[in-house]
């Protein structure tokens, strides 16, 4: 089951350039939370802070707290935090030197050691959840580079799901996909929210409207407004949110 994730007064910067200004956002369990905003508004940095990837960038600093359930993510060690908070990136990035099977299995292998009895069951389970099993079950040992881009992205989701995280972060998961693959991914998100808390960053407003239960609007490193998706799109409180969702800028 998913756990609630909340960011409390999160600020982040690269060197002297501050990209997030004191953002607090509560992401409810088993909800899909969409983060929308124009490019450069700090959306990606925000979710990279949630699973502690931000700190791997040179000269990147951050302050604030991230709570997963009742645990502080920044008090855990980074490795177990990232195992509990899975992430899928904008560019499909399956490991090109590994087979499809190894791509899904690597997270488990890293966590639980090389030798495992139920590994192939786990891999099958993750691929089935990601709706990819029927397409790849006959060629698990092929290189992951041979899949189509849409399949690669679902493989990345399966890879993240194999660790059974509590939260799944999606950083513009459909930005390089064709409309059909996008549809498949969105259907998948819909199925996944029963089991996981999902945070999706997107610059595509229609996509946010389609998949998200709650939406937050970011602008220039600040969170302007958050609320249920319906409210935010139909009756925004802030003028800037209204301008953005009605397409006056961005």
């Amino acid at each position: 089951m998913g756990k609630a994730l909340s960011a409390i007064e999160l600020s982040a910067s690269f060197g002297n350039h501050q990209v997030l200004h004191c953002v607090s956002l509560h992401m409810q369990p088993n909800y899909v939370t969409a983060i929308i905003g124009p490019p450069g508004s700090g959306k990606s940095t925000f979710i990279r802070c949630l699973n502690r990837l931000h700190e791997t960038v040179p000269r990147a600093t951050m302050t604030g707290r991230v709570m997963l359930g009742d645990q502080d993510v920044y008090q855990m060690d980074a490795i177990s935090a990232r195992q509990k908070i899975g992430m899928v990136f904008a560019q499909p990035n399956p490991f090109p030197t590994m087979s499809i099977f190894d791509n899904v299995a690597i997270g488990l292998r890293l966590r639980d050691g090389k030798r495992q009895i139920h590994l192939s069951d786990e891999v099958e389970r993750s691929l089935t959840i990601a709706n990819l099993w029927s397409e790849v079950k006959d060629r698990l040992q092929e290189s992951s580079g041979k899949l189509t881009v849409g399949q690669q992205q679902r493989l990345c989701m399966a890879r993240a799901l194999a660790l059974q995280p509590a939260v799944l972060l999606l950083d513009e998961p459909a930005s390089v996909l064709d409309p059909f693959s996008t549809l498949r991914v969105e259907e998948l998100i819909d199925q996944l929210k029963e089991r996981y808390t999902i945070v999706i960053v997107t610059h595509n407003l229609q996509q946010a409207a389609r998949v998200a239960d709650r939406t937050a609007f970011f602008l220039a490193g600040e969170m302007i407004e958050q609320g249920t998706t319906t409210d935010l799109f139909t009756t925004p409180c802030d003028k800037r949110t209204e301008d953005y969702v009605t397409g006056r800028f961005g």
């Binding site: 990837l53 990035n93 490991f95 030197t97 690597i106 997270g107 993240a160």
Partner: protein
């Protein structure tokens, strides 16, 4: 109309230059082959192919065998490339990981400068820096390991000197390959809960393996052809290397050292034959290696071949 005319003349000069230089390259190749063949011919006719596997070199008795030198070349290059590849790859990984920008660039610049350093300097380093250390270690080692050799000169010292010489080359080219690994792949591994080292070993190095392999091939080519650094430290004795401290010679260094000591009739011709062998090996090596070596901009700029 006049301008058109002038353009045509320029065009003609240009085309002549281009095709002339291409022809000069072919001519140069032909010249090398002809000269080597002409001078090696007496020895080839006299000794045949037997020189390849004869393992004695007694110019006074007219016995010439290149087997010791072939072995010497292979072993010294092998030691050099092995050390340089392991140490160099690790160094490149560390340099890429340095978080301070100025320090990262400074270390990269330092390594690039060192990759231009002449081999004489490495030879000097081998004699005055590594040899005393090796000797010290030899003295403290159990006697049985080395049968009373009082000098460090030998195939191991040559290998170590070559390793130091190849190190900057490998670091520079490997660093370039590592930088070109897409960061999103590393991010993907980190997001799965891999440590940076695990990501490096299981994702980055397999991804960059072609580049690392090409760096090693580049280094191997230089090691096989290196003369001076080897001559200065290998001890120069025409004998087969049985231990790591045997004084021996490589195909390149034997030409340099035996050149002025050839009293016999076939002495010089045999050295030309060694040169011919070296040439054939180089030809074969680069013909094969170029299929595996992807283009390296760093190597192109630093002229690392």
């Amino acid at each position: 109309m006049v301008k058109q005319q002038r353009n045509n003349v320029g065009e003609m000069v240009f085309t002549t230059l281009v095709f002339g230089s291409a022809a000069s390259v072919i001519l140069l190749m032909g010249l090398i082959i002809v000269v080597l063949l002409v001078h090696a011919l007496p020895a080839i006719l006299r000794f045949g192919l037997a020189v390849l596997w004869t393992n004695q070199w007694l110019p006074i008795d007219q016995v010439f065998g290149m087997w010791p030198f072939i072995v010497g070349t292979v072993i010294s290059s092998g030691i050099g490339v092995l050390f340089a590849a392991v140490v160099g790859t690790a160094t490149a990984i560390v340099i890429v990981r340095i978080r301070l920008k100025w320090l990262r660039q400074l270390s990269a610049a330092l390594v690039q400068w060192l990759s231009l350093i002449p081999s004489v300097v490495f030879g000097l380093w081998g004699i005055k820096f590594v040899a005393p250390i090796l000797l010290q270690m030899l003295r403290s080692a159990p006697i049985s390991a080395v049968s009373g050799s009082a000098e460090a000169d030998g195939i191991l010292l040559a290998g170590l000197t070559l390793a130091a010489m190849l190190l900057p080359t490998i670091v520079t080219v490997t660093r370039e390959t590592l930088i070109s690994v897409p960061p999103s792949i590393v991010d993907g591994a980190l997001a799965l809960g891999a440590t940076l080292n695990e990501a490096t070993l299981s994702i980055v190095i397999p991804y960059a393996r072609r580049g690392i392999f090409s760096a090693i091939l580049l280094a191997l080519g230089r090691a096989l052809g290196e003369t001076i650094a080897v001559v200065m430290v290998i001890g120069s004795q025409p004998q087969l290397a049985y231990t790591l401290f045997t004084k021996t010679d490589t195909l390149t260094s034997v030409i340099a050292t035996q050149w002025n000591h050839t009293q016999s009739v076939y002495g010089q011709s045999v050295l030309f034959e060694a040169g011919l062998l070296l040439f054939v090996l180089t030809f074969a090596f680069y013909t094969i290696a170029r299929m595996y070596v992807p283009r390296s901009v760093a190597a192109a700029r630093l002229q690392l071949w």
